[in-house]
């Protein structure tokens, strides 16, 4: 098997189609607070929805307005125009833009007479014992409903088997980051590889990634003018990173929900409370500033990553109308300054209309760092 598929950024739906031909279900989800382990344990293929290469989201804009985040509305567009042909949508209230994808899709699908499994998972925005307990009940409800829908009851054994697979993916991604640290994989390639996890079946993904890693280990390090980290709103377009890298930067790590944040440390299962372990894992990892009590921790992780990956500059990309990721500069910029790392802030839209401007700003930033 080749690993070419890891670099295909268009949404082909091929794996989901193959999965469905065997009579099984494939369900989309948005945001990192929907544990894929639960879908896998229900024998449902999880497809993380993304909007890569969406060039026009005007139909979805009619539903979500021009004041919405273009990433979120492009996902709705892909649901509406059939780019995604799935059996349903599971959504957590990561941010309100992502949440409204569900409201609108539920409404539109009903109107169009499309049968869909629609489920909303509530993910608390502060982390303590009580909120983890609540989230656990939400996950249990998802497990029960999905089990009914797919005909495969979600059991502890099923969940544990799924965790083995997702942990394997996490381990492989950790190895990918080691190669990034050694400059053997570019940021563009890395994002492509991680995006591939969204719509490939996990077994297929893990084997392809293993093969790639075996080959990539023997590469020569990439020459670059500056080692960079990219942080910010959902970024599902490798072309964005490519523009930066073409100007001589090398993006060696990130704090992105389609990047490192989607994988993280291994999920450790407590046999006595399997679903509780999943709840705790997903709620305590600092995926994004959607929560109210995780900012200092997220900032510390970014600062630590800068040190670990020998970063010379941070690019903070903010999707227009993304309030979730909009306000981090106030405390993060001084924290980075304290360790001598400059930060470039750039606004962006899902549709890459301002490539030229990004290229100019990235180049100027890289030049400044080099001096």
């Amino acid at each position: 098997m080749s690993y070419e598929k890891l670099f295909e950024t268009n949404i082909s739906g091929e794996s989901a189609k193959a999965w469905k031909t065997s009579g099984k279900k494939a369900v989309g989800y948005v945001c990192c607070h929907v544990p894929t382990e639960i879908l896998l344990a229900a024998d449902v293929m999880p497809v993380r929805l993304r909007a890569t290469n969406c060039v026009d989201s005007s139909n979805a804009e009619a539903w979500m307005s021009s004041f919405s985040c273009s990433y979120a509305r492009s996902i709705l567009q892909y649901l509406m125009n059939g780019t995604y042909d799935l059996d349903g949508l599971v959504q957590s209230d990561g941010c309100m833009m992502a949440t409204r994808i569900l409201d609108n899709w539920e409404h539109i699908a009903k109107k169009d007479g499309k049968k869909q499994f629609i489920h909303q998972v509530g993910a608390p925005r502060i982390t303590n014992e009580a909120t983890i307990g609540y989230y656990k009940t939400e996950l249990q409800e998802l497990a029960d409903k999905l089990g009914e829908f797919s005909g495969t009851k979600v059991t502890d054994d099923g969940l544990k088997a799924a965790v083995i697979k997702t942990n394997e993916a996490r381990d492989l991604i950790a190895q990918l980051y080691e190669l990034r640290k050694e400059a053997k994989v570019s940021g563009t390639e890395a994002l492509r590889i991680m995006l591939a996890s969204c719509d490939m079946a996990i077994d297929e993904y893990n084997s392809a990634l293993k093969e790639f890693l075996a080959d990539a280990g023997s590469r020569e390090p990439i020459e670059a003018r500056a080692r960079l980290m990219v942080i910010g709103s959902a970024l599902d377009n490798p072309e964005y990173i490519k523009v930066i890298e073409e100007k001589g930067g090398l993006v060696v790590t990130d704090s992105l929900c389609f990047g490192s944040k989607a994988f993280g440390e291994n999920l450790v299962v407590d046999d006595e409370d399997v679903i509780g372990s999943i709840a705790k894992y997903y709620l305590t990892r600092n995926t994004c500033p959607r929560a109210l009590d995780n900012r200092p921790a997220i900032h510390k992780e970014i600062v630590d990553a800068c040190k670990e990956f020998n970063i010379k500059g941070v690019i903070y990309e903010k999707m227009q109308n993304c309030e979730c990721w909009g306000g981090e500069a106030f405390y993060l910029e001084p924290a980075l300054k304290a360790i001598g790392i400059p930060m470039l802030q750039v606004e962006r839209e899902e549709q890459m209309a301002n490539v030229g401007q990004l290229a100019v700003r990235a180049e100027a930033f890289i030049e400044m760092i080099e001096l």
Binding site: F67, C95, T99, R125, Y134, G326, G327
Partner: protein, 438 residues
């Protein structure tokens, strides 16, 4: 712009917002006294009470607690603290271009312009350190609203005082309500530590008293709502804005008295065959979604005067209110308090599934006999906009009323001029509704 007012302050010097507001309210009060306007003094009395209570909290030996979003204000008062609803700063300064600009521009140095101006204005005030009072604590909730997620964590650090966060779930069913209710007892423990007072029989008797008073206020608000259902509507649209002060003051006799006076005035007008609206004749009954246009409440007067279009209710700001049905049953009281948190449709509570708004829409359009529908969408409130088509399609299909979409900034008067707004509404009224000017 035409409708915005300038304030007398030196922009080069620090501002003390609480003192400035108290002075402004007092000068309106004095002006009305000298002009002999006893029939409307109550509209200022309540504002005077609210702002001076905040200003004098420490002088009166009370702790001052800033809050954001739906939190158990009654518990704060039971612990003898003064609650300060931070949203009342932006809503207060909404028509004042220079003050608004001062704080909003400050926030925009660090945060996106797309952020809701309610949060931008209060965060800007916090960054500049210009509230003019020190907070003993900050209590807030994890709102649906993404803008608050920028503002609250930063304000927590700036205020540098004890903070407590309620987690509000997306779901609005019994499970979600119970989840919130279960957070109230731990909060009373936290309040014990903060104040050094015990959650004992005395305090519980106090909260019972507050909730009893709150019941009176919300019963009056419901009666006022019923009054607005009558044709013609005797109360002007702008009165809806004033009533939102119930959020920080429910349970305080001053607000009950204000609502009582308003109700008496409404009933008296009915008896006299008169109305307090500005129109010679009511021709249209408007439901205004989604937020209140604090930056230009005069637009409602203009609609009344020009087309006889009276804003009978503000859709997403609709306040049904919670009436506690068993004041001696603490479990039940907590549940109903939590229900109150989740079902405040706007004022930071615009959370939850769009379906809930459809229920609110049914109430509005069926009971208030609405025939003009305006989605006056606050640009900062993106999640409300993202439900806009579901809601307005529903109105069209079920009630046969086309909705006008108009984008406004509920707080920042610089966003759209009065003339522009009038032109947009006027065109709709004349070409879609078929209204004629008086």
């Amino acid at each position: 712009m035409a409708n915005a007012t300038k304030q007398n302050f030196d922009p080069t010097l620090p501002v003390n917002m609480i003192d400035l507001t108290c002075q402004q309210v007092d000068s309106i009060y004095q002006y009305m006294l000298t002009k002999g306007m006893p029939e409307i003094m109550w509209t200022v009395d309540i504002q005077k009470f609210y702002w001076e209570e905040i200003r004098d909290a420490h002088k009166n030996g009370k702790k001052l607690i800033a809050f954001g979003g739906p939190v158990p204000v009654a518990v704060l008062r039971a612990f003898d603290c003064v609650p300060f609803f931070l949203d009342t700063i932006p809503t207060r300064i909404a028509s004042m271009e220079d003050l608004c600009g001062r704080f909003i521009d400050e926030t925009e140095k660090y945060a996106p312009t797309s952020m809701c101006a309610i949060d931008k204005a209060q965060l800007g005030c916090a960054i500049k350190g210009e509230f003019g009072v020190e907070f003993d604590a900050f209590v807030h909730a994890t709102l649906a609203c993404d803008s608050a997620r920028i503002a609250y964590p930063i304000m927590e650090r700036l205020f540098d005082c004890p903070c407590y966060t309620f987690d509000l779930p997306f779901r609005h069913d019994t499970k979600g309500i119970q989840y919130v209710a279960d957070q109230i007892d731990p909060f009373t423990k936290w309040m014990e530590e903060l104040t050094g007072l015990k959650w004992d029989a005395e305090r519980q008797a106090k909260i019972r008293e507050i909730n009893e008073e709150s019941n009176k206020a919300y019963s009056l608000l419901i009666e006022l709502g019923n009054l607005r259902k009558k044709t013609p509507c005797v109360l002007p649209g702008r009165m809806l804005v004033l009533n939102e002060i119930i959020a920080p003051l429910a349970g305080v006799s001053a607000v009950t008295e204000m609502l009582q006076t308003q109700l008496e005035m409404g009933n008296m007008l009915i008896d006299m065959g008169m109305t307090a609206t500005r129109c010679p004749e009511e021709r249209y009954r408007v439901c205004l979604m989604q937020n209140m246009l604090w930056s230009n409440t005069g637009i409602m007067d203009w609609m009344e005067k020009t087309y006889g279009a009276v804003t009978v209710m503000d859709g997403f700001g609709y306040q049904d209110g919670i009436i506690f049905d068993d004041l001696d049953n603490w479990e039940r009281v907590k549940f109903q308090m939590a229900q109150g948190f989740l079902f405040v449709p706007m004022i930071h509570g615009a959370t939850g599934p769009t379906d809930y708004w459809l229920k609110v829409i049914d109430k509005m359009y069926e009971e208030f006999n609405v025939n003009v529908s305006i989605f006056m969408g606050h640009v900062g409130c993106k999640h409300t906009w993202a439900s806009g088509k579901i809601v307005t399609d529903y109105i069209q299909e079920k009630y046969g009323i086309p909705t006008l979409y108009v984008d406004v900034d509920a707080i920042d008067p610089r966003y759209k001029s009065n003339d522009e707004l009038r032109a947009q509404i006027g065109e709709y009224m004349e070409s879609v509704v078929g209204a004629e000017r008086f």
